[in-house]
């Protein structure tokens, strides 16, 4: 491979990391949205990219994905606090924020991300045949694996605020309403997913971003709205120079995250959230630190590890939004390209990790000086504008429907994980071959 291409790719990937960091400051803004915007720009201004080798643009996108997968949790950590009413379902990172330990939570997640980058760059290239084998084994069983995960999610939904009502019936209702709302969310999200998979209203030229309004509506906008309407006083944050982490925390968290990341990377329709739920039980993960480390490992393995498999000779597996977008203009073919990609992941992973501490300090300062609601408002507005820009008014309609559904778990304190039925249900049904029949039943096909 020509040295100039390698140098251009390195520079492009580092630019990608910087853009990912800038995008990460807006909570809720996903890098796939930024990638979609980049793709639209690349298509409309194709002449600008005529003399650019496709692998340079690939390096740029890879830098964005690596940077984002490591940095985006920082702004979520600082700018999406929940009030006491969420105590029963509060995730560790929210608890850390309210205790003034957000920086420690960020660094624990970063430790997990760093471990994942080590696994991806130092371990993955040694075992390409394992991935070919794993794919061959998993492919015919994907539908029931996803089905079992869905079953597990439904089975483990539990009442959280039971017994607050005055009368027996009120207590009964309080106990059941979260369960029912959880199941309601799951079913409606599944139907919405089937609708978009089979009869999307997004214009055909932007149909490759059909899922964008759904994810923005189900997860990002409701989070921003809830952050906006819940008034929380965020305490002064302490910038620690060390994190509490015993070796068994690192080992157990990494094991859980590794299994979750690999599961999500290899099984279509799976994401790290539900995968972590399962593997957390499998590895008997307990405690906040293990959860945060596991989350970091799983997230990076899912985003970056799965993307690396796209470039691995003999595997060429297209999983995740980034791989799908890159495959529109680049076909990975040679071992040199794979080594270049591995190098870019190692480099951007190291740079992103070094940026995390600095970025976290910046966010800790910002959250003290600026009302975090401003970030929520800007994030919310930006997401809506982006969605309309990319998917037109049809996408906005989908976004509104998805937002209404996305607010349900926030209002009734059921699990937000149920919303992932939007992806898991259609993918599992399609893999099993029952998708068209179910879509026909609902009149979508």
């Amino acid at each position: 491979m020509e040295t100039s291409i390698v140098i251009y790719s390195i520079v492009a990937s580092l630019v990608g990391v910087v853009i990912a960091m800038a995008a990460s400051i807006i909570p809720g803004l996903h890098i796939y949205n930024v990638i979609a915007l980049t793709m639209l720009f690349a298509f409309t201004a194709a002449d600008l990219f005529t003399n650019l080798h496709p692998i340079v643009l690939t390096g740029f996108m890879l830098g964005m994905v690596v940077g984002f997968s490591m940095l985006f949790t920082v702004s979520s950590q600082y700018f999406q606090p929940n009030d006491e009413s969420f105590r029963s379902i509060m995730l560790p990172h929210e608890r850390f924020l309210l205790e003034g330990r957000a920086h420690e939570a960020v660094m624990l997640g970063a430790l997990g991300s760093l471990i994942a980058i080590f696994i991806i760059t130092l371990f993955f290239p040694l075992i390409p045949s394992f991935f070919s084998l794993a794919r061959a084994i998993i492919q015919p069983h994907g539908y029931w694996l996803v089905g079992m995960v869905m079953f597990f999610i439904l089975m483990t939904e539990w009442p959280k605020d039971h017994g607050v009502g005055k009368t027996g019936w009120q207590k009964f209702w309080d106990g059941w309403v979260q369960l029912l709302m959880g199941y309601f969310t799951f079913i409606v999200a599944g139907i919405l997913g089937m609708f978009v998979f089979y009869r999307t209203i997004v214009p055909v030229e932007n149909a490759f971003q059909s899922l964008m309004p759904l994810f923005v509506g189900l997860f990002a906008v409701p989070s921003q709205i809830m952050t906006f309407i819940t008034r929380v006083k965020v305490p002064k944050q302490h910038i620690c120079s060390s994190v509490e982490s015993a070796p068994h925390d690192v080992m157990r968290g990494s094991a859980s995250g590794f299994l979750a990341g690999m599961f999500a990377a290899l099984v279509p329709g799976m994401t790290p959230g539900p995968a972590l739920l399962c593997t957390g039980h499998l590895t008997v993960t307990s405690g906040e630190r293990q959860f945060l480390i596991g989350g970091g490992v799983g997230r990076v393995l899912y985003y970056v590890g799965a993307l690396m498999l796209f470039f691995m000779p003999g595997v060429f597996m297209r999983r995740g939004g980034a791989a799908i977008n890159i495959s529109l203009f680049f076909v990975p073919e040679t071992p040199e390209q794979f080594f270049l990609i591995s190098g870019i992941i190692a480099l951007t992973g190291a740079v992103s990790f070094l940026l995390i501490g600095w970025f976290s300090k910046l966010c800790a300062n910002l959250v003290e000086k600026i009302d975090y609601n401003w970030f929520s408002a800007v994030g919310c507005a930006l997401l809506i504008v982006l969605t309309i820009q990319i998917t037109h008014w049809q996408g906005f309609v989908l976004l509104c429907v998805a937002t209404a559904l996305g607010l349900v778990p926030n209002m009734w304190h059921s699990r937000r994980l149920n919303l992932l039925a939007v992806l898991m249900v259609p993918v599992a049904l399609n893999m099993s071959g029952a998708g068209p029949a179910v879509a026909r039943f609902f009149g979508f096909y």
Binding site: T3, V6, L114, S242, F339
Partner: protein
Amino acid sequence: MALNNQSIKQMQITETEADAASVADIADKCPSCGRANPERKKRCAYCCTLTSPRERITVRAMNLSTIILFAAAIVYFAIAVNLKPQYTPISALGESMNFQHVRVLAKVRYLSEFKDKYEKRVTIQLDLEDSKDGGGDDYEGRIKLKAEGEVARELKEKGLLPARGDIIDVSATLFAGKGYRTLSLGTAELLKVVDKSSEFAAVEADVKALLAAPDNFKNKKIKIKEAVIKSKRGNLIIEINDPADAAVTILVFGVDPSKYKEGQKVSVSGMFVFYERGGYWEIKVNEDEPESVVVLN
């Protein structure tokens, strides 16, 4: 028994010393939440984290570990630059490799361009043969490489098209079944000319020089920098003359005369051959090749 008690006491003393030493390491502020810990307790009274440095990993240590990643990145980049390509011989491309991405080092035997029946989609087809052994007439040693649509357009626009006889390095997808084998080029940049052919390099000459010593140019690729179209004959032939002398003429075979006008100045590239049935010398051109006939005025 006394000895045992003594050793137990000794162990207790050692543990107490160790505790005292570890307590001394503990700061008067919780390293996690920053709140005061005047009694230097092992666990923070507010956030319950362990405060002893032995239970913690420093951010500095984590930062230092990235050196390994930087080193790995340098090694990978070096491999990417220096890795010698793994070429697959054309004769080895078979049905068992169907849909695989393969990399081939081959010689271009022939190059053609055509459009689909709706005249919209351009396809460039290259006949390739093994660069080392040569394909000869052996089917196994030859294969076709197709570049379609956008890829074909990019090849032309970026000037990446090879010429006959060039040695090319190409990475493409193999489509192989019973009785057919084709390579499909996915991206224009995956085709590179590694060695320009001298075999098919054109020799510059003018009409007068060609006809004065035809045997010197026989069966060679020649390029006439300037000539004038004298007449058009049938569907495939034009007659050109030397710009200095209209009486010295030669026929150019393989051109569509309707594209040109009499009196136009042109440059012509093609094979200089003797047409035995007609008993005269002519220039055989292939209009699919760039610069076969170029209008100058």
